[in-house]
Symmetry: C2
Subunit: 423 residues, 2 copies
């Protein structure tokens, strides 16, 4: 008995969604077979026991491939979690506060029953949410920088202020963490690569304060120095796989039993958010999100073995971003980048407004016309986030150079037509 899949329309479509976003067709074709009969077991992948040897082998390979792709050192655990990046807003702070309480049992009592500072670098919508959540949960948060509030920002995100201007907590106050987001999906703001801002931090701070990076929307698009971080986490649904799984790469010496810290001011943490439970059980503390892990593993395998690993993705990302930013630059004011600091413009999420030539003013009618032009060329999901407006074309790993070239052509024609008064 056989069954056939129709991918005709898929092959014609260019999906530039900001996430959940497109995945390689080859991966999804393999997954389609896998959910009906995984590797000849007669059972679909999501119908297997998560305690079976077959699924354990999948978990092992998925972790090994990710470790190879990212050069994850043995000092760090790789955890496959649920709840999305949003749950990690809570989990990163809670687990690091627990570690702080366990490692510094006298801290809370000797500091007037106040927990250690948690530093946040707010450069976009996601870090703004992360610091709000940590404060809700009782953390002693410190906004080291808020990019909306620096000179020239006008209350909007669109730059990454120099680290020398950040108001970091004193090292002597033993901060529990410094949190940043490597690429702000909504705002199109990305830290310039590589190694920034770590190499700009004061040395004693960098060496003692656990550093947390939210890499949900640019992971596997360029190298990251995992060893320099306490936690690197990312939701799957951009460069990795379908929504439903979140990976947290965590330095093992910071993974503690939180219950041992409660008497010392540490937080009570719901069991599924406790990193130690996941570490001790190889991410199988409870039933995981099996399909999302499976498809993510197929993406890892494909990137590692067929597409040159992270080095290959880095090169392609640079090419794609250069192409589209080049078109924006050459548009003579038709396309207006929303990120004012050129070095902070994201390679993943290219955000811009559209103006009549010479007016330097967003024009929603022109933006609607552009979305329509894209649709006519089968280029979809290009509207900007509702909080920012305008256009956002996301150039994640699954978007090919050929697809990016087609986008560039549509943009060029549109800019020319705008200048010729044809719109």
């Amino acid at each position: 008995m056989t069954n056939t899949l129709d991918i005709t329309k898929r092959e014609q479509t260019i999906n530039l969604g900001a996430g959940p976003s497109s995945l390689p067709t080859s991966v999804l074709l393999e997954a389609a077979q896998g959910i009906l009969d995984y590797q000849g077991t007669g059972m679909g992948l999501t119908e297997l026991s998560h305690r079976s040897k077959t699924f354990q082998a999948l978990m092992d390979k998925t972790e090994a491939d990710l470790r190879a792709l990212m050069s994850v050192p043995d000092s760090h655990a790789v955890l496959f979690l649920q709840g999305g990046g949003t749950e990690q807003f809570s989990a990163t702070a809670l687990n690091l506060l627990a570690a702080h309480a366990v490692h510094n049992p006298d801290y809370f009592a000797t500091n007037g029953n106040q927990g250690p500072p948690c530093d946040y670098a707010v450069t976009g919508s996601w870090t703004a949410k992360a610091v709000k959540e940590a404060a809700r949960l009782g953390a002693n948060t410190n906004v080291a920088v808020d990019a909306r509030k620096v000179e020239g920002a006008g209350g909007k995100f669109g730059s990454i202020p120099r680290v020398s201007e950040w108001k970091l907590s004193p090292v002597a106050s033993k901060p529990a963490m410094l949190y940043y987001c490597d690429n702000e999906t909504v705002d199109g703001v990305e830290y310039p690569s590589p190694g920034f801002p770590l190499d700009q931090l004061p040395e004693d701070y960098r060496k003692t304060v656990p550093i947390v990076a939210d890499c949900s929307s640019n992971i596997l698009s360029r190298p990251i120095d995992v060893a320099a971080h306490a936690i690197v986490f990312f939701g799957a649904q951009k460069n990795v796989g379908p929504s439903g799984v979140t990976v947290a790469i965590v330095r093992k010496d910071l993974i503690v039993d939180p219950d041992a810290g409660v008497a010392h001011g540490g937080p009570r943490i719901p069991t599924t958010l406790v990193y130690k439970n996941m570490l001790d059980n190889g991410s199988l503390y409870n039933t995981p999100s099996m399909f999302a892990i499976y498809a993510s593993g197929l993406v890892f395998d494909d990137l590692l073995r067929n597409k040159g690993g992270v080095a290959g993705a880095t090169e392609r990302s640079a090419q794609k971003a250069a192409l589209i930013y080049g078109v924006i630059e050459a548009s003579e004011g038709v396309f207006l980048p929303t990120v004012r600091q050129a070095s902070a413009r994201s390679r993943m999420n290219v955000t811009f407004r559209i103006s009549k030539p010479g007016q330097n003013q967003p024009d929603e009618k022109l933006e609607d016309a552009f979305v329509k032009r894209c649709a006519e060329a089968n280029i979809v999901q290009v509207k900007g986030h509702r909080s920012v407006g305008g256009i956002r074309t996301s150039l994640y790993n699954a978007v090919t150079i050929e697809q990016t070239q087609k986008l560039a052509e549509v943009m060029k024609t549109f800019a020319r037509d705008a200048k010729d008064g044809k719109l």
Copy 2:
């Protein structure tokens, strides 16, 4: 361009796994197409924005179908969550404690800074875990009954003591909840249907104390009186869909902003566990586990429109269970039920040990031989949970009567061979 799926071996396989467990082939075939091109959009379902109209329509239909299947009243919200049943061990207690704090702002201070009692009926491994988790999080837990500790239990689960013997907290102490598990997957213990234990509870208790049911492993296999419950929740990966989504059906007047209760002794709740966030955002507070919701929706549609709804499932479940328990009964001591109380034997998870005839003693060699016999008949995933041992054949909704008949035949032949000394 087309692609072909091979389901030959799948069609020959009978998967009796206890969960994650089998799903209808028709559902998975549709899902296979859907992950490559969902309804002719040119994009796979997991590649769509979760904020798109297309995905919103899927959410709306999925909720409407589930409401129709379960006759969910308007008084109750249907929330699609992540984190599995295990996360609901935390979330049910935390959210109901928050509601209690908001609705009874003076309670904490006037009760010596102690929260309200939370009653638990422990009848198997999952409720044992649930009460442990609530206590970890600081709840004032009361084990109203522990089925391992009643007379004749010998420290093992295998019965449901009468509600009149439970030590419920006094109504005057304003308990925050009573928690039970309708079907204990590991132990094969299920409450007799219908309406038990609710109708055995004292009337004032039943009318005032929020009642929580974990129905992860028997939902949609028989009716449940949702209106009588504060919360009915279930992980998908038994009768519903692939792992990755958990449904919580919650009485709306108990859904509060937990931050408003913190000053009154209520807990701080990580944002993804806060029911109010999910209610206010139609379960799209953050990116949901899209594939799991999608496939669950296909199962709801199939059950509602093709398979007679919950009434049809109830009838088939009864037939399947009667068939297998009948074979056990007729085996003259070869198959030994592990649940000593006949009325508490699960229709979903039939758990038994295997003995030499007349010895009434589990024989692991015979059990291994039985697993092998099953494998020869392409009947797979029948080993008992590691904490119980023996055999567990799970007869979830996707297991057909024909497949159950094949299992019955294998069991009958095995019992005969055992009695004939052929094993």
